[in-house]
């Protein structure tokens, strides 16, 4: 019986010739990552098992959630992982000012590569599937065990194959495609499974599109999302990492629980309505409705804070001003992206339009700090979750969208179609 791409990576890391769905294995880990929320909690658990990390080149700590520190407790937590990283001599510790949002910085800094087996104590660790790696989010005890032992137990997942065909339209991005897919299969549509993307439509997706899509696999309940490796992936790796890597491909006769065909040309700009990422509506459906007035827009996060996201948002905002009833926050996901925004004049565009530009942080996405909402407020956000109370008060509402929809909405003061603002 053939194996899926994910199963092949897991088999290789478990030292087995083949594995099948449902099998419990112990796999060797290439990268073990935690942040300032999950890391400090893992340290006492780690110390129950080991004095030193299994490999100081493979354990990665990124303070990004409550940083720059929002209060004393957060500062204590950051201090705990900072001191641990120093004491252990970790090669990859990303301090404020040299850092960014974990799932943007790890690929950018070349910490993660194709074919690897990666765990992170953050559910959006599935992002690195864009590079053709097996990458999944785990909790604190799992991460502590990974840090100590360099291996972890996994149940081998079955997979759903998403065959992508055609070319997306000018205002359709990875975010629209993944929201469309989650809308189609539901927030538990891929529960326990891999989402394996295939098809000739992938050639029409940028690496940033793929990062966004793999990032949100968890929002369909998936264990991981994964893309095959092509020239674009290899070009990205050449530019970002010094690591050697191995490419895995799914077997011709790999078994899938389900095959879902998506014609990218038919996907429209898509928005997820409160309170689930699966409540997808197309921009055309929204234009038929009464205007949905908004109070806030957030452009950034591990889902959509990359360079192309910044460029797309700026292209819409250029020469316009933000609606007087709307507050806009732009959060480049890493320092490198921030600098590039300055170089390309994007920060001028954002500020001239009336946006606040923040230092890289996860803050607004999970209602941690910066942009927390009051009762009754509505936000169009390029983040990944719109659960009840996710960005503040339980009576606030979040609409998930692409940077272009978010930027168009910022100008209009209500959820708006970027096709009516942009000039492509």
């Amino acid at each position: 019986m053939g194996m899926t791409m994910t199963q092949k990576i897991l088999a290789a890391h478990a030292g087995l010739d083949c594995v099948e769905a449902g099998q419990l294995i112990e796999a060797k880990l290439d990268v073990v990552m935690a942040n300032d929320i999950t890391g400090p909690m893992a340290l006492p658990i780690f110390r129950e098992m080991a004095e030193n990390v299994f490999d100081k080149d493979k354990v990665v700590l990124v303070p990004d959630h409550f940083t720059p520190n929002k209060d004393i407790k957060s500062a204590e937590n950051s201090k705990a992982i900072r001191e641990f990283a120093k004491a252990q001599g970790l090669s990859w510790y990303f301090e404020q000012g040299k850092s960014g949002v974990e799932h943007a910085i790890l690929p950018e800094a070349g910490v993660v590569a194709t074919g690897e087996c990666i765990i992170g104590a953050d559910s959006h660790t599935c992002t690195y599937g864009a590079l053709g790696a097996f990458s999944t989010g785990v909790g604190t005890t799992d991460i502590a065990t990974g840090m100590a032992m360099g291996e972890l137990w996994f149940k081998v997942p079955s997979a759903i194959q998403f065959v992508l065909t055609g070319k997306p339209g000018p205002y359709v991005t990875g975010k629209d495609i993944i929201l469309h897919i989650i809308g189609k299969i539901g927030v538990d549509g891929a529960l326990y499974k891999s989402m394996e993307f295939t098809g000739d439509g992938i050639a029409n997706l940028t690496m940033d599109d793929r990062f966004t899509m793999a990032n949100m696999a968890i929002e369909a309940g998936a264990k991981n999302g994964i893309f095959p490796v092509d020239e674009k992936t290899e070009e990205y790796l050449k530019e970002h990492t010094k690591k050697s890597y191995q490419i895995y491909t799914a077997d011709e006769d790999a078994e899938y629980d389900e095959v879902v065909i998506i014609n990218l040309a038919e996907v429209r700009p898509t928005v997820a309505f409160p309170h689930l990422p699966g409540n997808a509506k197309t921009i055309d459906e929204i234009e038929e409705m009464e205007p949905i007035k908004i109070d806030q827009v957030v452009i950034g996060s591990c889902t959509n804070g990359r360079m192309s996201d910044m460029r797309k948002a700026a292209a819409i905002l250029k020469g316009h001003t933000v609606h007087p009833d709307v507050r806009v926050m732009v959060v480049p996901a890493t320092q490198k992206i921030y600098k590039e925004c300055i170089k390309e004049g994007l920060i001028d565009i954002f500020i001239d339009a009336g946006c606040a530009v923040n230092t890289p942080s996860c803050g607004p996405c999970m209602g941690g700090h910066m942009g927390v909402m009051a009762a009754g407020e509505k936000c169009v956000s390029t983040t990944n979750r719109n659960f009840v109370g996710r960005m503040g008060h339980v009576d606030s509402l979040i609409y998930l969208a692409s940077p272009e929809v978010a930027a168009a909405s910022a100008i209009a003061g209500c959820i708006a179609n970027p096709e009516k603002v942009g000039d492509r």
């Binding site: 419990l24 929320i37 999950t38 400090p40 909690m41 658990i45 129950e48 098992m49 959630h65 409550f66 929002k70 209060d71 407790k73 957060s74 937590n77 104590a121 953050d122 559910s123 660790t125 989010g137 785990v138 909790g139 604190t140 005890t141 799992d142 502590a144 065990t145 100590a148 032992m149 137990w153 927030v187 538990d188 529960l191 326990y192 968890i218 309940g221 264990k223 689930l276 999970m366 209602g367 941690g368 927390v372 979750r385 659960f387 009840v388 109370g389 996710r390 339980v394």
Partner: protein
């Protein structure tokens, strides 16, 4: 091992943001986290929950963030077991790792109402609704997970493996 208590009932897709909102995540003091358990879906839960009480929910319980604070705050609040139609995978792993008993059983999720008194036998996977006199058969854990639970969670299991 058994659980016995009254039931708090919730619906589909109870996510980790409502179980324990991010604004409380700068603490990992279990008691403090427990005092905020379920606050964004059921503000009086933490005050009303008694040791031994159970949570029963429908599909995809614990979806969203990987925060282990979620099963931890429920366990510390006194929840003896969560029964659901299905669980999100990270929550499922985290619950096993920290020793919060969970059982998948769609029939029980449908046949138990808020306030019912329910008993769960973890060895057999049997769920008994004492209020309504009905019984359900839940999924017992796979052998490997039973080993983890018997060892007292992942840390103790890992340490016992190292000694071999």
């Amino acid at each position: 091992m058994k659980a016995l208590g009254h039931v708090f009932k919730y619906g589909d897709n109870v996510d980790t943001d409502v179980i324990i909102p991010a604004r409380y995540l700068n603490s990992f003091d279990a008691k403090e986290l427990a005092s905020h358990a379920m606050v964004d879906i059921d503000p009086t839960f933490a005050k009303r929950v008694q040791p031994g009480d159970l949570i029963v929910a429908n599909k995809n319980f614990g979806c969203g963030s990987s925060r282990e604070h979620a099963p931890l705050c429920l366990k510390t609040a006194g929840v003896s077991c969560v029964i659901a139609e299905t669980f999100a995978r990270i929550f499922y792993r985290n619950a096993i790792n920290i020793g919060l008993p969970i059982i998948e059983c769609p029939e029980a999720a449908r046949g138990i109402e808020a306030g019912d008194e329910v008993e769960v036998d973890f060895d057999s996977g049997k769920i008994y609704n004492k209020t309504r006199g009905t019984e359900f058969q839940g999924q017992p854990f796979p052998e490997f997970m039973q080993k983890l639970i018997a060892a007292g969670g992942l840390v103790k299991y890992t340490n016992s493996k190292k000694e071999k």
